[in-house]
């Protein structure tokens, strides 16, 4: 099976935020939660770069390691998913995550966090594929329909790549060779403990 990864080519990202909007719309993500966001580093200075970031579906995911109720699981495609039925909203994954991916709808008083929500790589959750229950909790299951994540599919500059890690790394390498520069595969060292030579 493929090892699914995200790769944001920061030298192509124009910070249009279409990935953010597409994600929210596709999955009917609740108010206040953004599964994906675009962060601009060195804003307004020379060398400014924008990076689209979401859950990176880490190898040896820290969220899964610290979850006190084991609600996380990794699919055959190496996508890190979680069960909202098991999640108790303790916030531990959110302390451990290097990318700030887990978010909680605010329910009730104090800080009572609701069930955690994060990027699913458009792969739904533990429910049967492409059912109403799955859509309600996790959004569309595009992977089950043979499609890749929508954020990357509709990226206007093809900055954001999603798919088999080896294939997207190859595409990125070819680009870097051709244009002669790169600011790196953002998040790869943290998520996968590897980087793409540039």
């Amino acid at each position: 099976m493929a090892r699914m990864k995200f790769l944001c080519d920061a030298d192509r990202c124009i910070e249009c935020n279409a990935c953010v909007t597409a994600c929210k719309n596709e999955h009917e993500v609740p108010w206040g939660i953004n599964r994906r966001r675009v962060v601009t580093i060195n804003d307004g200075k020379p060398g400014e770069r924008s990076i689209s970031m979401a859950c990176m579906h880490c190898t040896d995911a820290p969220c899964a390691a610290v979850c006190p109720v084991n609600c996380f699981y990794t699919t055959a495609d190496a996508v890190v998913l979680h069960s909202k039925d098991l999640c108790i909203g303790c916030g531990y994954c959110f302390y451990a995550c290097p990318f700030g991916a887990p978010q909680y709808p605010k329910v009730g008083n104090f800080g009572s966090r609701g069930k955690m929500d994060k990027c699913t790589f458009c792969a739904g959750g533990p429910e049967a594929d492409s059912t109403a229950e799955e859509y309600e909790k996790y959004g569309t299951n595009r992977l089950a329909a043979g499609k890749l994540p929508l954020c990357a599919e509709m990226c206007s500059t093809k900055s954001l790549l999603a798919g088999d890690g080896e294939i997207i790394a190859q595409i990125f390498k070819e680009r870097v060779t051709k244009r002669g520069y790169s600011s790196g595969a953002w998040g790869w060292q943290t998520a996968y403990r590897e980087t793409i030579a540039s």
Binding site: N34, T40, S183
Partner: protein, 339 residues
């Protein structure tokens, strides 16, 4: 005439433009064939090296400004703490204390009331004091069990009852932990106020500690209302309770006080103090129940036998007698013979 001048002006202008372009093109051609617009750009590796485990962030255009943090590798250290270090600290502190208490009980046995029950009682804790004690104690036990469940439940309890049942129980345990923190914190605060008077360390405590407190040997060093051991428990409850309450509320109200890194630190402090607190309270529960004859009555019924007071809190008994006079009217019929 005017038309000709305008035409001439246009032709001259066109020549000037052509000249500028002709000069500019060779200049441009002398630049390197590949331009690196990335020369001044930020690279992930540089930032990761420079920040050494801090965070990399920038500007986001969505309203949630917290999402401006791009990468924060600090969670790895916290993960190591939570999954490995904390479990060792917790296991050593709690199991170590249990082993210590069992060994102590087997070697030393119960601290007996050596002069036996006199049948005369003296009030030690009034109703309000006992209410506050038991409110705090009940909350503490539930907080301790639900807290330990978060750390030790996954390896110990989940394999026994299965994931769905464990998640259901943990959900309720989390609610209990969050809500009962309020009566617990209030209880700790009232405990601080009502017993502060008797818990300031003094010279008597030094003497009491030197003589082993009567726990290690069979001595009965004098003490006022609270001996050095009890003062220690008092300060553990007040300081430890305040620390777990503050760090706990930082976690319960995310981003009100700290960011993610502050929360990692708060959780670390919260967990370490909590497991040590549990270990200390096991000692407190031991000496208040099976560890010492006649001790539980103090917090159970609120009164103690005068002989118990004489053996363990002689100076306090003297103070009480001086205040009220030896009170023979408190003599009560004994359910069991005193001798």
């Amino acid at each position: 005439m005017a038309g000709f001048l305008a035409q001439a002006r246009f032709i001259i202008a066109a020549f000037v433009v052509a000249l500028i372009l002709a000069l500019a093109v060779p200049a441009g051609a002398q630049q390197p064939s590949t331009v690196n617009p990335n020369a001044a750009a930020v690279k992930e590796q540089q930032l990761l090296n420079a920040l050494q485990g801090g965070t990399i962030g920038g500007r986001v255009s969505i309203p949630d400004q917290k999402s401006g943090t791009l990468i924060q590798p600090g969670g790895r250290d916290w993960r190591q703490f939570h999954e490995v270090t904390l479990r060792w600290i917790g296991a050593i502190a709690i199991l170590g204390m249990l082993v210590l208490l069992v060994v102590f009980y087997l070697v030393r046995g119960q601290v007996k009331l050596e002069s036996g029950y006199s049948g005369r009682r003296i009030v030690r804790f009034n109703g309000f004091e006992r209410f506050v004690h038991w409110m705090t104690a009940t909350c503490f036990i539930i907080l301790a069990v639900s807290g330990l469940n978060i750390t030790f439940g996954k390896p110990l309890l989940m394999p026994l009852i299965g994931e769905p049942a464990f998640a259901g129980w943990s959900q309720w345990a989390k609610y209990a932990h969050n809500y009962l923190s309020f009566p617990f914190a209030i209880g700790v605060f009232i405990i601080f106020l009502v017993w502060i008077g008797g818990n300031i360390p003094n010279k008597v405590d030094v003497e009491w500690t030197k003589r082993g407190g009567g726990i290690v040997g069979h001595d009965h060093p004098p003490a006022y209302r609270f001996n050095a051991g009890q003062k220690m428990i008092y300060w553990i409850v007040v300081i430890g309770g305040t620390a777990v309450a503050i760090t706990g509320y930082l976690l319960m109200f995310p981003f009100y006080g700290t960011g993610i890194q502050g929360m990692q630190l708060a959780q670390t402090v919260h967990a370490i103090i909590a497991v040590l607190f549990v270990a200390a309270m096991l000692g407190h529960i031991y000496i208040g129940t099976i560890g010492m004859e006649g001790a539980f009555e103090a917090m159970g019924e609120g009164t103690v036998d005068v002989n118990w007071a004489k053996e363990h809190h002689a100076l306090w008994l003297a103070q009480e007698n001086a205040r009220t006079g030896p009170n023979e009217s408190q003599r009560q019929p004994m359910a069991t013979p005193a001798e």
